[in-house]
Structure formats: structure tokens, C-alpha cells
Amino acid sequence: MEKFRVLKTPAVPLPEEDVDTDQIIPARFLKSTSREGFGENLFRDWRYDSEGNPIKDFVLNNDKYAGKVLVAGRNFGCGSSREHAAWALYDYGFRAVVSSFFADIFKGNALNNGLLPLQVSDEFLKKMLADIKEKPSTLVKIDLKDQRISLEDGSSEEFKINSFKKMCLLKGYDDIDFLLSQKDKIKEFEQQHVEF
């Protein structure tokens, strides 16, 4: 996993609520056996029409917006557990998703792939979306070490993250590396664990 460093980048607004993983990456694009290349089909059915032509009003097709942060409405990533959703966002170039609420499995999947799911208050999310709308080039700064997200006008908010997950992101270390280091404990547990 890549290390997560300080991000300073413009952001892409997607104010929709309850964005489910079937929208992020539709099931028919899950037929790969590798982790790469999903970015191409990120938000496929919102991004392209049935003939494959870009849909103009969709935000990823709007030249005004770019950047490594996606700013989305409440309950982002609900639905299917497909990790392909996190891979698609990462592959497309996003390094963080900001929302006021995340679905559990998506949040875990994102963290396991170096994509930061950053939860802010409803007010802050509103302000962010408004700022970006007014000035699409507005820069968002995410400092993981200090757990703070700030906007160009100096307004900022602290965010929460599990301390272990934070360490993993900062070091580019993953859960498997850690669990493998605990194998002795696991084997010991297996000795006394009975399954009925």
C-alpha cells in the first residue's frame, strides 16, 4: 500500500446522497481478476450513456472540476461490499473521499487501499460543496497527521480516524502485515477454540 501524505488539491463535488457501490462500479464491470483498471468504469452509468458517449452534466465530465478529493453527500458507499468500488476511486486518481457519513464496509475497504474516507460534519460538508461550486479551483488541504481538513479561506475541521488505521496509512502498512506478525497468538488461540 502507498503511504498517505499531506494532500493539497482541488476537489470534485458530488452532492448526491446514498451513493451505492453499484453506482460507483456497476456489477457488469467486476469481471476482472486483477485490481487495476477499474477507474475507467468509475460511475460508469452516470458518466456515459448507453452508446458510451460522455454525459455532459456529470461532474467527472465537467472540465471545471479535477483533483484528488471527492466530496460526496451523506451515506456514501452503501450497498454491495465490492472492494472494486474503492479500487475504482483510487485507480481514477482519488486519494480521499469526504462525506458526512460512510457505509461501514466501504469505509473499511477504502482504508485497506490507501483511500482516506474522511467524515466531516453536515455543516462543513455543506460549506465545502458551496465553496467548490463558487470556485472550482479552490484547494482542500488534508493533513492526516494532525487529523485536520482545511479550506482556502482558513476554515477547518478536525476529523476522527482509528489510531491503528492512521498509523497504517501513514506508513503504507496493511492489516495483513500486522496479522501475520501475530501468527503465534493465533495458533495458540486455535489450540483452545472449540467449534460446535
Partner: protein, 469 residues
């Protein structure tokens, strides 16, 4: 200290506590399928490590498989690639595979219980969000991402945060023609798609305890649709009776010991839940969804809500546009093009019996395409034994071979753009059943009645005798 059912099972599986409040949780059974496992196998290979416990993994091919002519090679090249990769991976690592052609093949959440692999008190995971289904047995079962599939392969453990607990109690008696699917659609319509986030849910109350095992699975299955990590129901005599005699269930003395142990799995009287909800069974009616998330459910006699009356008017407007529906409209009477009966929510033998009982001697409406996809080979064979296949054929329903099928449209079974499909599956997201497809979620009985009438109807208005399953 008094404990909840969840706490009891969880505590028995904690290997160690880690910093940041995370815990190492031991996993008793790991189900895998062709879509979310290939990258995990590559991960294991890239790290140059072995799979820690191949004896605790069970594999099947379900998401991608065709539901016609399963004996022929898969036509879709990419689907074939994934199914072949699963077979190769299972061979390479020595994992039990119930693939295409195997008598045990089927949707992963249908075969686990029917084979007696799923048992009370276990921890069960799968790279699939509807793993919550297995919670019906009093197991802690939840969906995981592919990185976690790799974690479990590598160590038989997961590094997780302990979820909060929620209890949803439904007391009272269900009316005629009301099924488990209606209960869970009703609950999700009340709590919303994010209402259970961060929680593990226990379903309790007389209306729940009166349900069969298969109905309980339908309820736990859709826990994820309100954002919960999983759902569970305390095991009881119904559970023990169901498990007994199944292929991989404990037998004889072992079964007795197991049952003694399983009987300790319930929430203590004084146990405290982080969140509690109470509903009355009498308030529940046949349900149907009108929107593009499973929380958008109304009683079948109800009307589509108005954007002005909801919290997220933009979202509702967008979904109504997608669905081709209008605010204030009644769904009753709406013409339907497809009826899909299947998916890990409602494709078990009881579901097929409900449908067969209803359609016996009737004919589906001419314009409706009615498809039934059994959850497993065993369900299909049982249906043939009981003559259900003939009843369905006479009524004009097509009985296919088992798999996920039109639940997510990864194989050929897609619903065409803008057409309406009444479905017994669990998700009505945009494009879930095919690009532009319009899905309405219902119970198997409601689906059967709609297939016959060709439009949305309240099944209770029709003959409901002989409905006991």
C-alpha cells in the same frame, strides 16, 4: 455481567485486543465465490505465503454463472475467466469447491445453511455483503472486502472494530399473506438505508420467533440494506431441528453436546443494547419499493411520497425520474414487464412452495416474462421432487438453474432499459438488474400474484387458502 447474544458469540472469538480499540477476531468459516476472491488469491501469491486454514474455506461459483445450459462452457469470456480462475485457485491451494455441475452448487448464502455448514455460535465471513443471512442461526456473519478475504486466507482472522449492538423487537401476529420479506422491507422503510450503520442487529419478539428458518434467513439477509453489519436471531428449537441431519451438521453425541452449548446463546434479560426499536406485527402489510434504494418501501396499497414531504427532496426526485413514477401515484394497477423470483433473499424451497401454491392452476399474464431461479441445485432438485417445476411450467413461469442471475445482472439475465421488474431480490439500485432497469422489491407471494395479474396487485385480494407452508 449480562451479555447480548452478539457479545457472547463475539467474546468467544477474540484472539487479542490491539491498539486503537481494534480486536483480532477468529473466523470459523470463510465462504468464497468467483467475483471477490481472485485478487485475494493473487495477494497471497505475491506475498509468498500459504493459506492458513484451507479446511475452513468453502467455495462456490454463483455470481457470474449462466442459468441455462450450465453443462455447456460459459459463453461470456470474462465470466468464464473468473469461474475458471476460481477453479484453478481452489485446485492450487486445495480448497473445497462446489462449482458448476457439482450437486451442492448454488448461491453461497443458500448452500451454507442447507448443507449444515452454517451453525449457531460461529463466526462466518464472505466477500459478499449478504453474508448477514447466516446470522439467522445465531452466528455472527458479515460481508467483507477483498483485502479482508486475503486477511482471512492468510491468518483465519480479521482485524476489526467491535460494532455497536441494536435490537429490533417485533411482537404480535402477522396477518395473512404477510411474509418475512414484508417484515424486513417494513423495518428498512422505517430506519432508512443508514439506520443500522455501525451496528449488529438482533431480531427478537414473538413475530420473529414464530418464523421458519428460511424466513429468518430472509430477514437477516437484508440487514445490510439498512447499513447494519449483520443481523442475528437467537437459536431455538426451530434452529436445532433445521440443522439436524444436514450433511455437515454434527451427529449423535456431538449434536447433543453442540445443542447444549447452543442453548446458552441468547441475550440475557438484563443485557443492554446500544439502540433498540420496537414494532408491531399487526402494522405490517405487503410491501413494495418505488424508489432506487431498499429504504424506499411502502405498503402495496399506499402512494408514492411527495418530494416536498421528505428530508432529501433532490434524491427522491431523481429516483422517481429514474423509475418513471410520479409523486402521489398509487403503484397498484401499474403494468409490469418482468417478474424475477430468486436471489439469496428469496430463492429457497419455501419461497418456491409459496409461489407454486399460489400459481397452481393459474396462468401468468401474457405480457409478463416470469423467471424463477432457485438458490441452489438442491433447491432445484427438491422442487422437481415435489412437482413444483410442473406447476410453474403450466403457469408459464420459466424455472432456471441456480445462481445469482438477475439479482445483479452479471450474467445474461438482465432486465432491459426502462422496463419494470418486480423482484424478490434485495436491491433496487439504479442499474442493479441491468442498465436502466426499474426494480420493485416484493415478497414471493406478491411477486407471484403480480405475475398472474400482469400489474401491481395486493395479493390479499385474491384467494389465499392453502397458503400454509
Amino acid at each position: 455481567m449480562p451479555k447480548t447474544l452478539f457479545d457472547k458469540v463475539w467474546d468467544q472469538h477474540v484472539v487479542a485486543q490491539v491498539e486503537g480499540g481494534l480486536e483480532i477476531l477468529y473466523i470459523d468459516r470463510h465462504f468464497i465465490h468467483e467475483v471477490t476472491s481472485p485478487q485475494a488469491f493473487s495477494g497471497i501469491r505475491n506475498r509468498g505465503i500459504d493459506i492458513h486454514r484451507t479446511d475452513k474455506i468453502v467455495a462456490t461459483a454463483d455470481h457470474n454463472v449462466p442459468t441455462k445450459n450450465q453443462h455447456l462452457p460459459i459463453k461470456d469470456a470474462l465470466s468464464k475467466l473468473q469461474v475458471d480462475a476460481l477453479q484453478q485457485n481452489c485446485e492450487d491451494f486445495g480448497i473445497e469447491l462446489y462449482g458448476l455441475g457439482h450437486p451442492y452448487q448454488g448461491i453461497v448464502h443458500v448452500i451454507g445453511p442447507e448443507l449444515g455448514i452454517t451453525k449457531p455460535g460461529m463466526t462466518i465471513v464472505c466477500g459478499d455483503s449478504h453474508t448477514s443471512t447466516h446470522g439467522a442461526f445465531g452466528a455472527i456473519a458479515f460481508g467483507i472486502g477483498t483485502s479482508q478475504v486475503e486477511q482471512v486466507m492468510a491468518t483465519q482472522c480479521l482485524l476489526v472494530e467491535r460494532p455497536k449492538t441494536m435490537r429490533i423487537t417485533i411482537d404480535g401476529e402477522l396477518g395473512d399473506g404477510i411474509y418475512a420479506k414484508d417484515i424486513i422491507l417494513y423495518i428498512i422503510s422505517k430506519l432508512g438505508t443508514g439506520g443500522g450503520t455501525g451496528h449488529f442487529v438482533e431480531y427478537a419478539g414473538t413475530a420473529i420467533w414464530g418464523l421458519s428458518m428460511e424466513a429468518r434467513m430472509t430477514i437477516c439477509n437484508m440487514s445490510i440494506e439498512m447499513g447494519a453489519r449483520g443481523g442475528m436471531i437467537a437459536p431455538d428449537e426451530t434452529t436445532f431441528k433445521y440443522v439436524k441431519g444436514r450433511e455437515f451438521a454434527p451427529q449423535g453425541k456431538n449434536l447433543e453436546t453442540a445443542i447444549t452449548q447452543w442453548k446458552t446463546l441468547y441475550s440475557d434479560n438484563e443485557a443492554v443494547f446500544d439502540t433498540e426499536y420496537n414494532f408491531r406485527a399487526e402494522d405490517i402489510e405487503p410491501m413494495i419499493t418505488y424508489g432506487t434504494n431498499p429504504g424506499a418501501g411502502i405498503k402495496i396499497t399506499g402512494t408514492v411520497p411527495n418530494p416536498e414531504d421528505v428530508e432529501n427532496p433532490e434524491g427522491l426526485k431523481k429516483s422517481l425520474e429514474y423509475m418513471g413514477l410520479e409523486a402521489g401515484q398509487m403503484l397498484k394497477g401499474k403494468q409490469i414487464d418482468h417478474v424475477f423470483i430468486g436471489s439469496c433473499t428469496n430463492s429457497r424451497i419455501e419461497d418456491l412452495r409459496i409461489v407454486a401454491n399460489y400459481v397452481k392452476g393459474k396462468k401468468k399474464a401474457d405480457h409478463v416474462n416470469a423467471m424463477i431461479v432457485p438458490g441452489s441445485r438442491q433447491v432445484q432438485e427438491q422442487a422437481q421432487k415435489e412437482g413444483i417445476d410442473k406447476i410453474l411450467a403450466e403457469a408459464g413461469f420459466e424455472l432456471r438453474q441456480s445462481g445469482c442471475s438477475a439479482c445483479l445482472g452479471m450474467n445474461e439475465d438482465k432486465i432491459p432499459k426502462s422496463e419494470y421488474c418486480v423482484s424478490t431480490s434485495n436491491r433496487n439500485f439504479e442499474g442493479r438488474q441491468g442498465p436502466g432497469a426499474r426494480t420493485m422489491l416484493v415478497s414471493p407471494l406478491t411477486a407471484a400474484a403480480i405475475a398472474i395479474e400482469g400489474k401491481v396487485v395486493d395479493p390479499r385480494e385474491f384467494e389465499l387458502d392453502k397458503m400454509a407452508v
